[in-house]
Amino acid sequence: MNHFRTILSLFLLLIGLYFLNSYTIKTDKANIPPLGKFLNPITGFWKNAENNDIIKNESIQLKGLHAPVTVIYDEHMIPHIYAANEEDLYCAQGYVTARFRLWQMEIQTRAACGRVSEILGPKTLDFDRLKRRTGMKYGAEQTLAAIENNPEAKKLLAAYTDGINQYIHSLNAASYPVEYKLLNYQPKDWTNLKTALLLKAMAENLTALEYDIEHTNALNMLGKTDFNLIYRDWWDEQDPIVSKGTSFQKHINNTITNTADTLFSTNSNPIQSIENPIDREEDDYMLGSNNWAIAGAKTKSGKPILANDPHLRLSLPSIWFQIQLSCPSYNASGASLPGAPGVISGFNDHIAWGVTNAGRDIRDWYKITFKDATMNEYLVNGTYKKTHKIVEQFIIKGEADFYDTIVYTHHGPVVYDRNFSEKQAMNLALRWTAHDLSEEMLTFYKLNKSKNIQDYFEAISHYSCPAQNFVFACKDGDIAIQQQGKFPIQRKDQGVFIQDGSLTSNDWKSYIPFEDNPHMVNPTRGFVSSANQHPTDTTYPYYYTGVFEYFRNRRINTELTRMSNIQLQDVEHLQLDNFNWMASECLPAMLNKLDKSHVNAKQQAIIEQLSAWKFYNEADSKAAVYYEIWEDTLEKIMWDEFMHTKYPVRFPEKITTLHFISADQASIFYDIKKTEKVESLNDLIALSFTYASAKIASMPEQDWTTYKHTSIEHLAKIPAFSIDYVASGGNKSIVNAISKYHGPSWRMIVEMTDDIHAVAIYPGGQSGNPGSKYYDNFVSDWSQGKYYEIYHSALLNDMKKHASSILELKP
């Protein structure tokens, strides 16, 4: 009897322990980690609840250091790292960054190389496969090979990786970041490849701005004439990065044979045979950025001022980690990417730099003709060439491994084929500059150390992908901007559509030389700027296509031209500017063409508010809500042809919408297909106003910020770790580009006075831990348009007065 009780109690205890420590509860929405393991106060999430009151000084051993390193944390938890040499500096950067952002670093690289299913199970397998098929890992390996060719760069990257790993090795089950506990897995060692993967993730994020597949579908739907009407390369009101009228040189004697692509030279329809049209995830690309540099002639101090605010998807932990890196050979401050060494957007004791996205199309899709179903050979100029196959293994949590064969051609990986989807009739290979050997890491390393404009040009000459507009300002007075990246030389319209991959005449053959990339140095107008617009006017001697903005740049350039005697605060106001340039051109036309004879009292009130509106999307504006609802409704009924199409097509750009609203001649696009009547523009305006005013009447009265509802999501989209609502003005296509999910992910202004005066802020906090008060402590100030002074000094003793705590790293 007694033995029975013993066995029973042992059995119950073991069952209970197993359930609480090892059993993951699976629900439709999420996996709930083993409850005891996650909730217990000894190793569970409670261990991540940081002590808010005590910040203590620490001394930690970091193996491999050549000399002690001192890290001063200021009141914002921004580390100021002082090392005796560059290797120690990078090791300490890796260590310190990992302390705050380890999980983020790991999940971003995990996503980039398609290894999410290892932790989340089969539901993310397609996501993972597409990442591998897109060649993210392949590209990262190429980049790493290039970096490791340079012994100096290899040594520094290894030091950075070592710093991260020493932090990882110091952890135990209790000290893992809380996301590991929630998803119930353990951190793995960092590698140099992961740093390269992170840069590829940025490349993908910023250069997936091509619509080859959607354009091809649209061409089939519309025919060439209408296609060219809707998807125009250039509208004349554009204000390019390099001012209109600048003369360009061509340093390469290269004649592109104007062989038209047989696939798309006519209106013939090559993809009617697609059984399963490629439906790529649609994203309203709101990525963008602003940067500018103002010459001393226009500033009060007589020294240049540089500003940068990259607009990305807002997330917690933030994409950026602010840092100061100081050693005898340089002293740089600014925003770093957790997982990549150095400062990405920032300044040192001599120069300042910042980046915006170039938006040029550097991803082309090629139709591959295989000899047979084995995909061992493919057609090139009438003969068959061998393919190269790589079998990729996918580890799936809770299931057997999955293997996917990816076929490589001389273009690149065949992303879409029968291996990917049974129904896939067309095989498409991707040619992308992110697959090539490249040295982006060297660019940032050298920028961190640059002292003048020659150093700056040398540094960016190493840069290929994702193409960026590098703005520059220097204490000695120089300002400059260059659109830098590796750009293929293409014939007109090449890269707009899917190309025939069986003809080498369609291959990329050479690249635009560095010195021919669009740039401006010390222009007489006294400033350089970029906001994702075209880099040049149409006289640029090379063809290019891409996705370009028409509104923010014109506002910035108008303001910078008007302003003089500029101070840092004036630049803050410009970064925070909520003027809606699109509305200023669009709304007067809409109001003008609206038939106001039959409006009711409520509609009359809306018209009055809109007429009085000065086009500022301020947080408390009601007219901004009315305008956005009306414009959105009008756009949707005008472009009804482009919605719910059988094959995915690209929705017309805002600039095109604007032109069609302002136009005076008839167009078939005004007609609403599903109605008997043939509508005119005025009909659309009247109808959209009726719909919009009905929507407004049905909603509770709200201001712009409430309607817009900006949120900052946690990287794993865990609502409890996200901020659901951030009060803010602005919108996409507005200088202060805060939309629902995107916005200025980093705002920085640097004045190049003798003692550099710099301010910055970003919508997040230094810590990646949702249990820290430094997780999201910048968000409220960011949304109110406040900035923080950047403490920057090459002298450790100067910095000590800003110390809230000190971390000593000992060899």
């Binding site: 007694n2 033995h3 009780r5 013993t6 109690s9 042992l10 119950l12 205890l13 209970g16 322990l17 609480l20 420590n21 409850l35 005891g36 393991k37 909730l39 217990n40 106060p41 000894i42 190793t43 569970g44 999430f45 409670w46 261990k47 991540n48 609840a49 940081e50 002590n51 808010n52 009151d53 005590i54 135990n172 089950a173 209790a174 809380v178 929630l182 865990i718 609502p719 409890a720 770790f721 949702p770 249990g771 820290s772 008060k773 997780y775």
Partner: protein, 120 residues
């Protein structure tokens, strides 16, 4: 009876607390309580209650301490994550988990004593 129930409760609770601070294995208290219960064996109900109450209380103390220092930042988020109506439900639920394992441990300890304790 060498120790009063109150004293045993205090000894159990403090030992569980101390062990939690020293050993980063969350269920280490199981072995401790089996041992304690083996040594200080008492009636089944008493063993059960002692095990339950000591871990329940030790965990509540640990959680409150963390939560106070953290101004409830993380517990609020986790409460939201599990869609619980209040932070206190989260605390009690967690303490119940510890308590049940604690009770099973002391019960086992007591049973082991009955099975093997008198063999010499």
């Amino acid at each position: 009876m060498l120790f009063s129930n109150k004293l045993l409760f205090v000894i159990y609770t403090l030992s569980v607390l101390l062990l939690s601070i020293l050993v980063p294995i969350w269920f280490a208290f199981i072995l401790l309580l089996i041992f304690f219960s083996f040594v200080f064996s008492s009636k089944t109900t008493k063993a059960f209650l002692l095990g339950f109450a000591s871990v329940f209380c030790a965990w509540i103390i640990l959680m409150l301490f963390k939560d106070f220092q953290n101004d409830s930042l993380l517990s609020t988020r986790i409460t939201h994550l599990f869609k619980l109506p209040s932070k206190w439900i989260l605390l009690i639920l967690t303490a119940l988990i510890g308590g049940i394992l604690g009770a099973l441990s002391t019960w086992l300890g007591k049973n082991l004593k009955s099975s093997f304790g008198y063999i010499k």
